[in-house]
Subunit: 218 residues, 2 copies
DNA sequence: ACAAAATTTTACCATATGGTCAAACTTTAC
DNA sequence: GTAAAGTTTGACCATATGGTAAAATTTTGT
């Protein structure tokens, strides 16, 4: 089949065929799912192909039949992740009420942290290492932030919310919401809630609502 | 000399001598400084002894003369770090004014992020991997947080500040302040400030002052 | 059913890495 | 100055790891 992506190779000895087979789709998913798990737990360098293969229940060479390198798997995961990750920011609507738009944004980001903690950690790992693989994508983020910051500045100009630095507002929201996924190990110990700890996100939502509503209302 | 710590060995073939030599102190410092740099940049598993030795300007076996294993270096760094790291929290004073105590806490944490970004990243890396090496220390943190949370609850009972969940208050402060060190790569791109970007921390301090003063005042 | 294409496996390889050993060299205490 | 203690080095080793080659097996289209 030889798929279009340069990082994904399959049937390396076959001529160019356009579409991906059933097995290919299934196995690629399987591998990505396993890799997400492993990368999120050990970071890129801390993860081995063998680990990922084992988690996926296939052999290493078989894994390497679908993804040419460890980097290729990582890249694919990061690419996917960023789409999901930026969605809540894209949704912010200039026409809406500032405070409730921001409230909703925080809620959505908190839900992502709750529902996709592995993705959050994958991202955190990447940024911590200096974001070596996603400089381009980060520039898209910059543009998006620029655009949404303009909206916030407008809201401030119209006296619909308290004056503040929009970018630092975003930083604070990212930091806190992702903290619940990334620093989970610390939070668990401090809260002393063993096992479940579902209430965590409810409590966090309440706290953040209060902080930001009072903090940003005109 | 065979020092007390089980992880640090020097002069392995000599009998027990109590005090550390000049060279030993110097070299250990040199190694720890180099290791902090390397670990903060690549994480524990991403760092190699050779890298650390090169950064320190000594040979690998020489490094291993001072620290028996890579883990031993890491352990020592984490131990040191936690002391510095928790100091601002310890300082919070039940007798002070709630809002200014919290303001000061945020300032101090922000200063740590600015002045010790490598330590912050070392810590973040450790927690991200599930805090495998610092479960005990995390329990000390839990006790400290419990103690300081009681102070906050008192303040709230005395109507000196708005009601809120003290632990989530701490989480938010940790998250945001450390974010400036840990997510530096992202922040740089989003702010578009190449090179310096000193103003960053000033802007952050202003933003956070506003957010928390308005968010927590009665 | 059968050939072509796709998939999987077995056996490898080169390099990187954590760590050891014993000999050579330096520093310190007298 | 000298001997003991402490330090440094070069040569090594075992294992882990990313990745490859080619043969064997399975799937697919007809």
């Amino acid at each position: 089949m030889s798929p279009p992506s340069s990082d994904v190779r399959a049937a390396p000895r076959s001529a160019a065929t356009r579409k991906r087979t059933r097995i290919q789709k299934e196995k690629e998913e399987l591998i990505l799912e396993a890799a997400l798990d492993v990368f999120a737990r050990h970071g890129f360098r801390g993860s081995t192909i063998d680990q990922i293969a084992e988690q996926a229940g296939i052999s290493k060479p078989n894994l390497l039949y679908y993804f040419r390198t460890k980097e290729a798997i990582h890249r694919k995961l990061i690419d996917r992740l960023l789409d999901t990750w930026l969605e809540p920011l894209r949704i912010i609507d200039a026409g809406g009420d500032p405070i409730s738009e921001i409230q909703s944004y925080i809620r959505r980001k908190l839900e992502l942290a709750r529902d996709y903690p592995r993705e959050s950690r994958l991202f955190a790992n990447e940024i911590l290492q200096g974001a070596p693989h996603i400089q381009e994508e980060l520039h898209d983020l910059r543009d998006l932030v620029e655009e949404k910051s303009a909206i916030i500045r407008d809201w401030i100009r119209q006296e619909k919310m308290a004056a503040c630095d929009p970018k630092h507002l975003f930083f604070s929201i990212w930091a806190i919401t992702q903290h619940y996924a990334d620093f989970d190990a610390q939070i668990r110990v401090v809260l002393g809630t063993p096992g479940e700890g579902e209430g965590r996100f409810e409590d966090a939502a309440r706290f953040l609502d209060q902080l930001y509503v009072n903090g940003l209302s005109k």
